[in-house]
Amino acid sequence: MSANAAAEYTSYLGGGDTLKSWLTTLDHKRIAVLYLISITLFFLIGGVAAAVIRLELVTYAGDFVTAETYNKTFSLHGIVMVWFFLIPSIPATLGNFLIPLMVGARDLAFPRLNLASWYLYTVGGIFTIGMVIAGGVDTGWTFYTPFSTMFSNTYVVAAVIGVFIVGFSTIFTGINFIVTIHKMRAPGLTWFRLPMFVWANYATSAIMVLATPVLAMTLTLVAVERIFQIGIFDPALGGDPLLFQHLFWFYSHPAVYIMVLPAMGVASELIACFSRNPIFGYRFMAYSVMAIAVLGFLVWGHHMFVSGQSVYAGMMFSLFSFVVAIPSAIKVFNWTATLYKGSISFEAPMLYALGFVFLFMIGGLTGIVVAALALDVHLTDTYFVIAHFHYIMVGGSVMAYLGGIHFWWPKMTGKMYSEMWGRVAAVLIFVGFNVTFFPQFLLGYLGMPRRYHEYPEALEVLNVISSGGAVILTLGYLLPLVYLLWSLRYGRIAGGNPWEAKGLEWQTSSPPAKHNFKETPVVTEEAYAYSPYKV
């Protein structure tokens, strides 16, 4: 039977390449590719919005677009980047593709649910694009009440419905991962032999399943107040405006960990592979992602230190925020220690991974600055916060996402990309990112509020530098688009395991066969058993 199967080997890409066969596929690898294409489109949409924002801020006067357009632009940027790019990014593409391979399974537990999840994403996305064409929304991605429910004259309900729908695609993905990781691990693949990438996605899935329903409910309440004028949030109708912020951040802080935990998983895989070392402190790393997932639910109030919540509540939320920094710090220390006595090489994925560690560290440390109560009073709602979370989410998560795409590109496509261009792009992105966002720490310290269409003249220099950096960053992001697509046609044949990496996904062919493995693999060693192979 197995000799037979080998003879009939077809890659998941081969056969049935009609549009219909792709749109009705139940293969997790094909669904990952569908996701990859769709989130790239949304990344471009969000990127264009970012470009408009940075162009407007080149001069202190509001002269490039009107205030209304500016507000709609940053709202679009936030909504698209958070819900249509970052949240699905690593889980829905790399996770979808790799988790069954990494646990030695044929597919995810619920292939139909997986396809449904992509369709929900697409419907939510089309809804959101339609909302923008109709006229857009100007509430920011945070939808603060009572502005969103009673005062904005834009398409709030449509925007909320788009996000509501895409939320369910997140929940479906989460359920699928949890069941797969629990039930479908290959023989011998115990919990503490799982790659960190699987642990990270497991922790992420738990947050997805627990937090996203709260978002759905909160957005429903926004729509209800807006449509039926029932007093939930607007005090003029008898509502409580802070209630919204509590509900929103109860989802949205855990959601930032949805965005960064998978990136931590990717970084662990890359650093282990390119330093030919097992991840240092494997168990601590695994406990850390779970700890982050749990503690992440206890810190939402750190977004509300000046909102009028009780001063004592502020203290608790601040303390918990310091505590949640511990597992994040453990991760950084352990990645560093993994390099120790390794045999380190610097292919593009490794450059992305090292860039990730550095930028995530800056993001995390400045997170502590804004978690320190008295400092946050001055810094909140300024560009300092913008810089902080871009260091985490763009410097950190996007960097790791790109590193992962490069690392597993040969696995997904069977082709090698151009190593030289890969390195050039990684360096451009790292430099461009810092030039764009570092000045924003200074702007924030000087008091420049976020979401400002015009600003005092004295702050212009720093804004010009930041916009200049964005040009470099844009180049860096466009490059991979070119050479990765190029590699599909002209790239070298990759072979099963071009990086000589450990992990079950490297034991099958590239691109993998439809059914992943010829026969179910049996695992006999720990994850990252690299050491004996060191040079």
């Binding site: 205030a67 507000n71 100007d138 945070t142 603060y144 009572p146 502005f147 904005s152 607007d234 005090p235 405006p241 097992p278 601590f284 230190f305 000046v306 909102s307 009028g308 502020g314 203290m315 601040s318 303390l319 310091f322 453990i330 220390f333 352990n334 560093t336 220690a337 390099l339 120790y340 006595k341 390794g342 045999s343 380190i344 090292l354 560690v357 550095f358 560290m361 440390l365 400045t366 502590i368 320190a372 008295a374 400092l375 009073v377 001055h378 909140t380 709602d381 310290y445 000087l446 008091g447 509020p449 400002y452 269409h453 015009e454 005092p456 003249e457 004295a458 702050l459 060191k534 040079v535």
Partner: protein, 211 residues
């Protein structure tokens, strides 16, 4: 109006200096962590690059070192937490009634600040205050949530509809300072700006009497 950003921020309230000290302390702590980690990453990356002839033999024991490198920094950062929390109460709990020299009523609405002095004198987007006095603001919004932010004083608080919030400050330097709305409140959020003018108490008294 031209000003370099050195003087842009200013240290103009009794609390500004405390803020800057605390910020500096945390900045040093964070820089230390950054420098150590960055150094180690680069050092390891160079020393253990593939092909280099170095001893790579190692026995990996992680438990003890995990506790050391977690708990020591955590202790240091915890000190910052306590310091920042204590100072937060100072910012957000206004002084007792008898300590307050001046009570100002603040109303935010899309998109302007309306301010009223105790004798009933009103102004818009401009707030005159006397130097060296404890000034308490009682703030409310007529529509959406705004946020009253004076960077030079390191003070900010949201201004909510249907609920009064109070903050306070004591200006220690004459001059004009920016007043911003820091909570996104709709189309002209970025134009909801004004000036705080700190005057000699005698000038302020005179100003108060002008029609």
């Amino acid at each position: 109006m031209m000003e370099g950003f050195g003087s842009f921020l200013g240290e103009a309230s009794s609390l500004s200096r405390h803020f800057d000290t605390l910020f500096l302390a945390l900045f040093i702590l964070c820089s230390l962590v950054t420098i150590i980690i960055t150094f180690l990453i680069i050092f390891f990356a160079v020393k253990y690059r593939r092909g280099a002839k170095v001893n790579r033999f190692t026995v990996r024991k992680s438990t003890a070192i995990e506790f050391v490198w977690t708990l020591i920094p955590f202790g240091l950062f915890l000190a910052i937490f306590v310091w920042a929390a204590y100072f937060y109460t100072e910012l957000l709990f206004p002084p007792d009634d008898e300590m307050v020299d001046l009570d100002i009523a603040v109303v935010g609405k899309q998109w302007m600040w309306k301010l009223q002095h105790p004798n009933g004198k009103r102004e818009i987007n401009k707030l005159h205050v006397p130097l060296g006095k404890n000034i308490r603001l009682t703030m409310v919004s007529q529509d959406v949530i705004h946020s009253f932010f004076i960077p030079a004083f390191r003070i900010k608080h949201d201004v909510l509809p249907g609920r009064y919030s109070t903050i306070w400050f004591r200006p220690i330097k004459l001059g004009e300072y920016h007043l911003f709305c820091a909570e996104y409140c709709g189309t002209d959020h970025s134009r909801m700006r004004g000036k705080v003018v700190v005057m000699e108490p005698s000038d302020y008294a005179q100003w108060l009497q002008q029609k």
